[in-house]
Subunit: 164 residues, 2 copies
DNA sequence: GGATGTTACGGTCTCCGTAACTATG
DNA sequence: CATAGTTACGGAGACCGTAACATCC
């Protein structure tokens, strides 16, 4: 299966967000023509129309909506890959735990203590964040784990066990 | 920040799996020199050594291990993006539910009935698979949802609600 | 006629393969 | 001296920007 390049996904996601080739090209720091060609090539390679070029701008097809979602996820994964790889090489090398600001500090304390008691426990850095922010932090690699409530819609990745 | 191209990740993952530039190049259908250069460039761009070139082959650094894992995830995401986008455009457009072979048929029946009763319910295609296979199917887009037991280590993505 | 997206064309830069080089056991 | 990885070098292809074109209000 032909793989999508991250450059192409970045282009498509920008166009899909702006719904306007001109503004998208500006955001990307490039001219419209190569952007237009890249999208056409993407549609040809997938064999699927992604945009409807109407009078007055652009609309996403159903397939385009799906690629917008999946493309964002892929770009986040690439960003996370770079970030976590760099972090793995840095001496600090702490596990980043995303905790929303209003969380139960009692529970957090217990968790961290229990984790610290385990053998070979990694050092944990607590990253306080807004309420809806945890998923994003996990997706793009700024965090490695998060404290969430079940049911959680879309657990993205978990990189280490905090408690057994 | 998002500097990693899919091509580079494919190269690195192959080398990391083979731990041998020659065999990796062969698997990739290319010559060793451009592969060697691509990896060097990747290390330069990340500012992190990924491989230790020892006498007698190659070893992964800690950062290399992380990039192997994250790179696979990114490549899977790209594959899933292409697959789901193509599927979204096909007329059938069914939701694929991965169910491991030994699963409870009674429960499955109830779930499917409950789902079918919802308004605007998508048609569901049940994909029977082996026991450890569900995560992989979700990751690379061959399935959109899966029936799993909690605790589930690494929920990757959920694309539609089957039951409320 | 102005705004928006698409071809046309030419230059540049990247990527690849062959061949020569280095290092190690 | 055989094996594995890296430079050196030249060519083919990809990508981009400018300019000209098509279409729709």
């Amino acid at each position: 299966m032909d793989l999508l390049e991250t450059r192409e996904l970045r282009y498509f996601v920008t166009v899909a967000e702006e719904l306007h080739f001109g503004r998208a090209a500006e955001r990307l720091g490039m001219a419209q023509p190569p952007l237009s060609r890249a999208i056409q090539q993407l549609e040809r390679r997938l064999g699927v129309p992604l945009l409807e070029r109407n009078r007055r701008g652009v609309t996403l097809t159903r397939a385009g909506e799906v690629l917008l979602h999946e493309g964002r996820a892929t770009l986040d994964a690439a960003t996370a890959a770079a970030r976590r790889t760099r972090r793995a090489a840095s001496p600090g090398n702490r596990l980043v735990l995303a905790v929303k600001s209003g969380a139960d500090h009692e529970l957090l304390r217990k968790l961290l203590d229990a984790h610290a008691a385990e053998p070979d426990a990694a050092e944990v850095e607590v990253l306080l964040c807004g309420i809806g922010e945890q998923e994003r932090l996990l997706r793009d690699g700024r965090a490695d784990a998060a404290l969430v409530h079940l049911p959680f819609d879309c657990l993205v990745a978990r990189h280490a066990t905090l408690v057994g």
